[in-house]
């Protein structure tokens, strides 16, 4: 078994914050939310390293931070119960969190290096029966494997199974569009547009059947514009939009 690590982008909001602190764009000791958002959006405009997932996570963190502040100001406000695990979100939280987080960030990079050097050696293997190995006696793996098989089988036979459904963040609805969808749509669009040199928005929308695909298409176009992959122009008011690669 080999691993392939995607080191593009950031691993989460703290990773991003670390980067901002390290590049001197922000001071860890006096972070205010509005300052943070300003720096962050500046950063977004310049960088290509942040994906949609990271943005969503970042804003989710900000939202939790704001919620914490709001509660501090208005303790009696009804309906503002602290979601479990959010207690630490007072203003000093970020700096503390960064200090705790940074060695692990380093450790992840270290592991990445280890893995790459290990990957250069190959062991003999029987491809069909090869690793990963499960330590015998690992009851949870055994059980997980079984219930997954049961789930798959039910899937095949058409029953509804709720096994792999994702839960929302406590109290905050899931805000993360499926990044992979957007990314693969970006690739499709890139090919499509590159093939023709330029296209009209109406043509592209014509290719997008469902509402979900439409949303993904728009997100992909926005992201591509931000990354400078395409240029969008509108030649006349209310006219069609032209997209060039």
């Amino acid at each position: 078994m080999t691993l392939d690590v995607e080191l593009e982008g950031f691993s989460g909001p703290l990773d991003l914050l670390c980067h901002l602190v390290e590049t001197g764009e922000i001071q860890a000791s006096n972070i205010s939310v509005s300052e943070l958002i300003r720096v962050y959006s500046d950063f977004l405009l310049r960088t290509e390293r942040a994906g949609i997932n990271e943005m969503a996570e970042f804003f989710s963190l900000m939202a939790r931070l704001l919620l914490g502040k709001l509660k501090a100001l208005l303790p009696s406000l009804p309906g503002l119960e602290t979601p479990p695990g959010d207690e630490e979100l007072d203003p000093g939280f970020l700096e503390e969190a960064l200090i705790r987080y940074r060695p692990y960030r380093m450790a992840a990079a270290y592991l990445g290096d280890l893995m790459r050097s290990r990957e250069r050696s190959f062991i003999r293997g029987n491809p069909e029966e090869g690793p990963p190995w499960y330590d015998l006696g690992d009851l949870y793996s055994l059980s997980m494997v079984w219930w997954e098989m049961v789930g798959r089988k039910k899937d095949r036979t058409g029953h509804k199974v709720q096994l792999v459904e994702e839960a929302g963040w406590d109290g905050i609805p899931v805000a993360t569009p499926d990044e992979e969808q957007v990314e693969s749509r970006m690739e499709e669009l890139r090919d499509l547009i590159a093939g023709r040199g330029s296209m009209l928005l109406s043509e592209i929308i014509g290719f997008s059947g469902t509402r979900q695909l439409l949303v993904v298409t728009f997100l992909a176009l926005l992201e591509m514009t931000r990354l400078g992959i395409i240029h969008i122009s509108q030649e006349e008011l209310f006219g069609d939009v032209r997209i060039r690669s």
Partner: protein, 196 residues
């Protein structure tokens, strides 16, 4: 102490050929070796000779020319120690492949179960995996299913229970207990789950 450095390295081609033969699961022909290493076939042949000679003189390994290709193997002198290791290895700490673990899970949860039932759930054949599990004493044959073909029935063994730390088969985690992992915690929001 053995680092006098007198030993001559194998030629670069021989080292590449050696590495390829090491990972190969079946004999590799000279032509394939030549295309993978990017050198001419006669050079590959010389490299094989070089490895062969070195192995014979210095190592516990050898090259075999089988079915028109080349394979690495342990040298005949090591027969005894390798045979002993194979015996011992069977009784050592065992790690299971995913395939073996899956089959064992079916045997545990759905017992008594026939091979074809296991195959049906897993969607792949599993004769060899069952052999492994039998050899490790994790499952046993527990009679035959009545009816057409009277296939063998498998059950887990007592040694299975003790290895997995179970008092009895009914102690296997239920779907509810595994929900936390499998569903990534729909229910884990807090203690307030009421359907039980």
């Amino acid at each position: 102490m053995s680092g006098s450095g007198a030993e001559r390295p194998l030629s670069p081609v021989a080292r590449s050929v050696e590495a390829v033969l090491f990972v190969a699961v079946q004999p590799v022909g000279v032509r394939e070796l030549s295309s993978v290493t990017g050198v001419a076939e006669d050079q590959v042949a010389r490299a094989l000779e070089e490895i062969n000679l070195r192995y014979r003189n210095c190592h516990g390994l050898c090259l075999l020319n089988i079915a028109g290709g080349w394979m690495m193997a342990t040298s005949p002198e090591q027969e005894e120690v390798v045979a002993m290791f194979r015996d011992v290895a069977l009784t050592q700490k065992i790690r299971l492949s995913k395939a073996a673990l899956e089959s064992l899970a079916v045997a545990a949860y759905a017992q008594p179960v026939t091979r074809s039932e296991i195959e049906e759930i897993r969607g792949v054949r599993c004769e060899r995996v069952l052999e492994t599990l039998l050899r490790h004493g994790l499952i046993r044959v527990a009679g035959r299913r009545k009816g057409s073909g009277t296939p063998l029935l498998y059950r887990t063994t007592d040694s299975f229970l003790s290895i997995f730390g179970l008092g009895s088969i009914s102690d296997l985690p239920t779907l509810e207990e595994m929900q936390e992992i499998l569903s990534s915690g729909d229910e884990s929001s807090d203690g307030g789950d009421d359907e039980r």
